[in-house]
Amino acid sequence: MRRLALEPRRDWHRRVEELGFDFHTIDGEPYWREDACYHFDSAEIDVLDDATAELHALCLEAVDRIVRVGRYAELGLDDYAAGLVERSWRACAPTLYGRMDLRYDGEGPPKLLEYNADTPTALFEAAVVQWHWLEDVFPGTDQFNSIHEKLIDAWAAMPHSGKIHFAACRSQAEDRATCDYLRDTAMQAGIDTVALDIEEIGWAPSAATAGAFIDLADTPIHSLFKLYPWEWLLDEEYAPHIAKLPDMRWIEPPWKMLLSNKSILPLLWEFFPDHPNLLPASHRRGELAGMMRSPGVGIVRKPRHGREGEGIVVLGSGIDEPPADAPAVYQEFRQLPHFGDRYALIGSWIIGDKPAGIGLREDADRITRNTSCFVPHYFD
C-alpha cells in the first residue's frame, strides 16, 4: 500500500461534473483529490476482500445473538425499536449496502473501526468517479470496485411490490447525489422509482386499514429507501406509524439499527474476543484497559451515534477525559497509517452480502471527518 503523487487530469473538473459529481469541492476546499492515489498489490486487495466478508459474517452473527437474547438496552434501543428490529430480522428483510471503516496499512490484518450500516455515503465517488478516473489514468490496471454492478444485481434481487420511493434530505448535495445514484442503479435493475425529500413524506390515516405513508402524488409508499438514520426516524412525529405497517419495506431495514450503532463494537469484541479484524472495545474505559493487548496504546471514545468523526476523542495518558454529552463506547486506538502528512482510512463496501470494493479518505488529522478528502486507488 503506497501513496503516489500524480498530475491531475487537465480537465478533471469537467470530467467529474459530467458524471453528476457536483460536490468535488466543498466550501472552497478539495473533497475529490486526484493529485495523489493509493496503490495496492493484489495480495493486499485479497486481504481487504476477505476481511470485509469475515466482518460481515461476524456482524450478522452478532445481530442474531442480540435478537435471540434481547440485548437491546446495551445499544440504547427501547421496546418499540426492538420490536421493529426483531420483526425485520425474523422476516429476513434484505440489506442493500453498508460501509465498514477499516484501519489497514498493508501489513497485519485490517481492523474494524466502525460500521456505517444504515446511511453510508461516499458511495458515488467510490463506485463511479474513481472507476472513470481509473479508465482515464491507469486503463490497464485494476481496481477493487465492482460496487456499481453489485448494486444493480442487489436491486434486481430485492423483493418489492411496484415502485420504490427514495427519500433523503435533498438540500444536501452529498445526500442528494447518494440517493440519486442509488435510484439510478435501481432503475437500471428495471425498478420504477420516485424521489422525494424526507420532509415530503405524508401520512394518510385510515380507520379501516393501518393507514399509509404517501408521496407527493398521494400514492402509498410500499417500499422506501431512506438516506436518513433510523434513530432519527424513531425520534420524530411519524415514528408511531412505522410499526402499523408490517408489510412496508424499509431500505436499510430496521435490524441495521444494531450495526450502525457503535455500541455494537463492545458486543462484537465480547462475542468474538481476540478476533484479528476487531479491536478491543467496551462501554467502560476502565474495563477496556484490561482487555487491551498492546500496552501503551491509546483509547478512543466514540459517541454511540456520532457521524463523520463527530464527537470522537482520542484519550491520551495524563489527559483528563472531557465529559461526554451522549452515551459512548471506548475502543483501543490504532492510529491510521500516514503517508507524509496524510492519514488514510479505507471504507470497504458490502453490497447485498458481498464485499464490493473500497474508497479511501485521507486527512491531515488522525480523525477522519466529513471534510476529509476522497482519493482514488488502483492495484496490479
Binding site: 446511511t119 434530505c169 447525489a177 415530503e200 380507520a207 438516506l227 420524530e236 411519524y238
Partner: protein
C-alpha cells in the same frame, strides 16, 4: 495467471450526469398537508371521482368499540389541502378535491350529493433532525 478483474466492467448512468440532467422534483419543501373527501355512498363518490379512486373506510373518529358497529363511508383519494390557495399550476398527479368542488351548479348537473365531510392527513412528520445535522456517515 491473471484472475478475474475486481472492477466493474462498465459504469453507465441513466439518471445522473450533466448530459441527462439531474433529478428535478416537481415540488420542493415546504410541502403541504393532505385531505380526502368522505361520501355517504359509492354513487356520491363516483360523481366526483372514478370507481377506482373510491374506497370504503371508516371515519377516524368513528365508533368502533363497545359493540357499536363501525359505519363505513366511501372516500375519495388524498389530495393537497392547499388546492384553493395555489397560484402555480396543479400537480397533474394530484386528484384534487373532486368535481363537486366546482359549486352547487356543477353538483346539481352531476346528480350527486357531494361529500359529507373531509378528513385530514399530514406531511412533514419526518425530517426534523435532518434540518440541523448531517445524515450520512
Amino acid at each position: 495467471m491473471l484472475g478475474p478483474e475486481r472492477k466493474s466492467s462498465k459504469v453507465q448512468l441513466v439518471l445522473m450526469g450533466a448530459a441527462l440532467g439531474g433529478v428535478a422534483l416537481a415540488e420542493g419543501w415546504p410541502s403541504t398537508d393532505v385531505q380526502r373527501n368522505r361520501y355517504a355512498s359509492l354513487d356520491d363518490c363516483v360523481t366526483d371521482y372514478s370507481y377506482a379512486q373510491c374506497n370504503p373506510d371508516a371515519p377516524l373518529n368513528g365508533n368502533s368499540g363497545n359493540g357499536v358497529a363501525t359505519h363505513y363511508y366511501y372516500y375519495g383519494p388524498w389530495y393537497r389541502s392547499d388546492f384553493r390557495n395555489r397560484t402555480t399550476s396543479s400537480d397533474p398527479a394530484d386528484p384534487g378535491p373532486g368535481r363537486s368542488d366546482r359549486g352547487a351548479h356543477a353538483l346539481a348537473l352531476s346528480g350527486g350529493h357531494g361529500p359529507v365531510g373531509v378528513e385530514a392527513g399530514s406531511r412533514g412528520g419526518f425530517g426534523s433532525h435532518g434540518r440541523v445535522s448531517a445524515r450520512g456517515s
